[in-house]
């Protein structure tokens, strides 16, 4: 990996509202209020190139809720690491999980100082459960796992949520390796949830949006193909329907079709002893 930022290295940088940040640009598309002029400029330029980006952001947020509910209800998962949390919005991970079981525990991880400054909205846990917040880069996998152990019990299944975040990792930083590093140590029954930008359905239009984004935001974004996104799940077993357009992953309502984001959930298989 070419770059690892962590609190220990001081590479996370300073809070500067004049520099657009992915979490705040995403917040513009979600019609939030926690963004600055620099973020709005990026968001608007991308919308001009690819107006569907707004539907994509909304669909991705809806997928978060469906994924957490699915894992909590259907697989009894009570522990979540939400990496690339983003700014608080309705149905934050702990709210969805603790609606199913108030004993659910969540670790939020993000590198944006704005997210940290809004973290108190992410920390209003039930008395029975708990929420922690970690300010670091997702490449710092060892630090994330070390800090996760103070909130989560690694003898029980954990779901690692990587929604709309791996597309900020270039190939040279080995996104599949990051997934393996985060999920490898987890016990059987644990899960990986991924959503990721793709240009498969509209290479030119999405490519235009990516170019507009990368021209202004220091953290570049990379679209990947269906095969490349599927490879990110490595040795985990994909849950049906597999890697599909985000709006088609077990929809619970009639939603606009979104083709620029793939989504999938995979589980670490239980060992068979016979």
């Amino acid at each position: 990996m070419s770059h690892v930022a962590s609190p220990g290295t001081g590479e996370l940088g300073s809070f500067d509202p004049s520099v657009p940040h992915p979490a705040r640009v995403y917040n513009v598309w979600l019609d939030g209020k926690d963004h600055f002029e620099s973020d709005r400029e990026v968001a608007d330029r991308v919308i001009k190139e690819r107006p569907q980006v707004v539907d994509g952001a909304v669909a991705n947020r809806q997928f978060l809720g469906r994924a957490v509910r699915y894992l909590a209800r259907c697989h009894g998962v009570r522990q979540f690491i939400d990496i690339g949390t983003g700014l608080p919005a309705p149905d934050n991970t702990h709210e969805v999980a603790q609606m199913v079981d108030p004993y659910s525990r969540v670790l939020y991880v993000d590198s944006d100082p704005m997210v940290m400054s809004h973290a108190e909205a992410l920390l209003t846990s039930t008395d029975e459960g708990s929420c922690d917040y970690l300010h670091t880069d997702l490449r710092d996998t060892a630090y994330i796992l070390k800090e996760a152990r103070r909130t989560l019990d690694f003898n029980l299944p954990v779901a690692v949520l990587l929604l709309a975040v791996l597309h900020f990792i270039p190939d040279e930083d080995d996104p599949a390796g990051i997934v393996t590093a985060l999920a490898g140590p987890l016990t059987a029954g644990s899960s990986v949830v991924i959503s990721h930008l793709t240009a498969d359905s509209a290479p030119e239009a999405v490519g235009g949006g990516v170019a507009a984004y990368n021209a202004l935001v220091p953290t570049s974004i990379y679209a990947r193909t269906h095969a490349q996104v599927t490879e990110l799940f490595e040795d985990f077993t994909l849950v049906p329907p597999g890697v599909v357009p985000v709006s088609e992953w077990r929809p619970d309502s009639v939603a606009k079709k979104v083709t620029d984001v793939y989504a999938g959930i995979a589980r670490k298989p239980w060992r068979r002893w016979w």
Partner: protein, 72 residues
């Protein structure tokens, strides 16, 4: 967001947050960059009313210690 937030060199603050996390494992420690404040929440039962706020890491550590003593 109309109000222009305060800015500054936060790298040292991130390191102080990481250090305080290690020293006080029963607290969530955050740095509020726009308002230049440290804040700590109990990891369990993290009610907003239970939050501790300080301008420096040392002051926050002192508040956490006093909160511990108050619970004994």
């Amino acid at each position: 967001m109309n109000q222009q937030p305060a800015t500054g060199n936060d790298a040292e603050r991130w390191r102080e947050v990481a250090r305080l996390r290690n020293e006080h494992t029963d607290y969530v420690i955050i740095w509020l960059a726009p308002t230049r404040q440290f804040r700590a929440y109990p990891l369990k039962q993290a009610r907003r009313a239970a939050a501790l706020t300080a301008a420096t890491a040392a002051e926050l550590a002192d508040q956490i210690s006093r909160a511990h003593q108050g619970r004994r």
